[in-house]
Amino acid sequence: MNEIIRASGIGKKFGATQALKDISFEVINGEVFGFIGPDGGGKTTLFRIIATLLLPDEGELNVLGSDCRTGFRDLRKNIGYMPGRFSLYQDLTVEENLNFYATVFGTTVSENYELIADIYSHIEPFSKRLAGKLSGGMKQKLALSCALIHKPPLLILDEPTTGVDAVSRSEFWEMLRKLRQHNITILVSTPYMDEAMKCDRVALIQDGKILSVDKPQNIRNGFKSRLFRFMAADKYRLMLALRKYSETITAYPFGDSVHVTFRNDSYDDSLINIFRSEGIENVIIEETKAGIEDRFLELMEA
């Protein structure tokens, strides 16, 4: 298995702000590698460094066998980059956008059509429409087609699913999985924890530091405590009540419920008493399996 990206000790500062600190990871040929973390965590900065748009202040980075400082010209021919704001020309039609990127990267649409057919067929009926008039999901598909048109061995997608509806999001991940059969390595970032499970391996990133790199399943399994799910009509008051309980380690809101861990992995009647005195009724309690987000929060606390 050869490594497509090898990064060690990458650091980047903007003025006094430390955007990235000691980032090290490897990406293996053909995998879908995800960077998961909240906004402002350094994902975009890291992707720009990998895409040769920024230089790291420290550390070593080798992408597709080229050094990021000296080999950027070769590298630029071999990566497909899709920035966070879909970089499309709003005043050009779907077709014109695609043709433009094809010529700029020295290819034609027909040459690599087979590669993008799956994705582009969704928007082909609108090929005469201006890109600015497309919906978020369609823009995303067009931007992906444009990034893929020269058949790059490495695809870098910066938050491709942000601002896109849920149906388009899951369609999009389906497309990425299909791309693997063309032997394209995909680097993708997202703030949505639930999307981590769709990656082969993920890196959790927070405040410019990598918390963990592993298969998503292993990251979930890294969560060792028993996890309980509490539900009541007033989630916020429920959470405050849980935090009053002396045995509680963590209590985080999670969707319509609160995820809680306890010392000794269990709770006793005094918790119920707290609920009663706070006037919280009909509390539903069940044990649940930890997700990526639970592990992420746990790692953040550590």
């Binding site: 720009r48 040769t52 966070g84 970089s87 050009l92 014109e96 700029v104 020295g106």
Partner: protein, 369 residues
């Protein structure tokens, strides 16, 4: 090469798809020519003058007839005494009153010297200046005719250089070169800087940078369509001024067009330079308009003569390229001089171009930030 052509094609698509760009490109030059030609006219035509003739002799009648038959002035009244001056001025039709002194004709014949006062309506300073200039010109002319017959009028006459080349004192002899100078700066500097910063703002520059396109290809691709369209603009302006205002190009047309190309190149490289120092379209527009348009209008000699400016302003205007182009244009179009008379200005424009390109290349980043 294919890459580059694809890029140029895309730029043309941007331009032709945006009606605002098209209006600025083709509507604006035409509108400015018409505007300066008809509305902001610096010519006078049938301006009202009244006469206070205290002498009423053969010579004063001759002079007043000459004034009224010039086509520039029409007689709005004959006054009886000085008190009438204020009254007719207030009515507004009269821009100036011409006063002949007592015994004007006799004084002229016997002492060789007689006095005319021109009292102009100073509430409109520009018109007043024009009217007095025109009037003194007519009187000087009379003076010349009259001096053949022994006597001479002693009048304080201010002659203006431009009359020499512009005998009809036609304003558009002045403004056509000015409009070309202005429009080229506007289109080239403003539009190229905006189109480059637009790519930065929409995030498309990120992908262009990551693409195999070289920076020089991106810049040339951006600039080529505007070079081409600006050149068409120069031709449109020249055609319009020829067809509508009968303004001929006295000098060599080839020289004029080559100098225009040089000026377009200079403006384009300035536009690129502006785009390398501004991150947003707003910044680019601000720098182009406030930094280039206003000084071009005010300090290049287009409206206000550079010679009359305070020293500090003259220094500023000497580092503004448009002024040099204006001199070149006026020389070729109006005076009809050849390259020999404008080589200095041409050289200065070349130096500006080289400097702007050099600075742009130094400033252009192959990475973000």
């Amino acid at each position: 090469m294919n890459r580059f052509l694809g890029f140029v094609r895309k730029e043309f698509l941007h331009i032709f798809r945006d009606y605002r760009t098209l209006i600025i490109l083709f509507g604006l030059p035409a509108a400015q020519i018409m505007l300066f030609g008809y509305v902001v006219s610096t010519d006078i035509k049938n301006a009202g003058v009244a006469f206070l003739d205290l002498s009423k002799d053969e010579i004063t009648v001759k002079i007043s007839d000459k004034i009224c038959s010039s086509g520039f002035f029409k007689r709005t009244g004959d006054l009886i005494d000085y008190n009438d001056i204020d009254r007719v001025m207030k009515m507004g039709n009269t821009k100036a009153v011409i006063v002949f002194e007592n015994d004007f004709g006799r004084n002229l014949m016997s002492e060789g010297k007689a006095e005319i006062s021109i009292i102009a309506d100073g509430s409109e300073p520009n018109t007043a200046t024009l009217v007095t200039n025109y009037l003194t010109a007519i009187i000087t002319d009379f003076n010349r005719e009259f001096s053949g017959s022994s006597a001479s009028l002693s009048l304080s006459v201010q002659s203006e250089v431009r009359m020499f080349y512009n005998p009809g004192l036609k304003g558009h002899y002045m403004f056509v070169p000015g409009v070309i100078t202005l429009i080229m700066i506007l289109i080239c500097a403003l539009m190229t800087s905006v189109t480059i910063t637009r790519e930065k703002e929409f995030g498309t520059m990120e992908v262009l940078m990551v693409s195999p396109l070289k920076p020089v290809q991106i810049i040339l691709g951006k600039v080529m369509p505007y070079f081409f369209l600006s050149f068409i603009d120069v031709i449109i302006i020249l055609l319009l001024s020829w067809l509508v205002f009968d303004l001929p190009v006295k000098g060599s047309l080839v020289l004029l067009l080559s100098e225009s190309m040089l000026y377009i190149m200079m403006s384009l490289s300035l536009g690129i330079l502006i785009s390398t120092v501004s991150g947003t379209m707003q910044q680019a527009i601000f720098i182009s308009l406030v930094g280039m348009m206003l000084p071009t209008v005010l300090l290049s000699g287009f409206i206000f003569p550079i010679e009359n400016m305070p020293v500090a302003y003259r220094w500023i205007s000497s580092v503004l390229p448009p002024g040099y182009f204006l001199v070149i244009l006026k020389n070729i179009m109006i005076k009809g001089t050849g390259f020999f008379y404008v080589w200095k200005e041409t050289l200065i424009l070349v130096l500006f171009t080289v400097a702007f390109i050099g600075l742009s290349v130094r400033n252009f980043k192959i990475r973000l930030q």
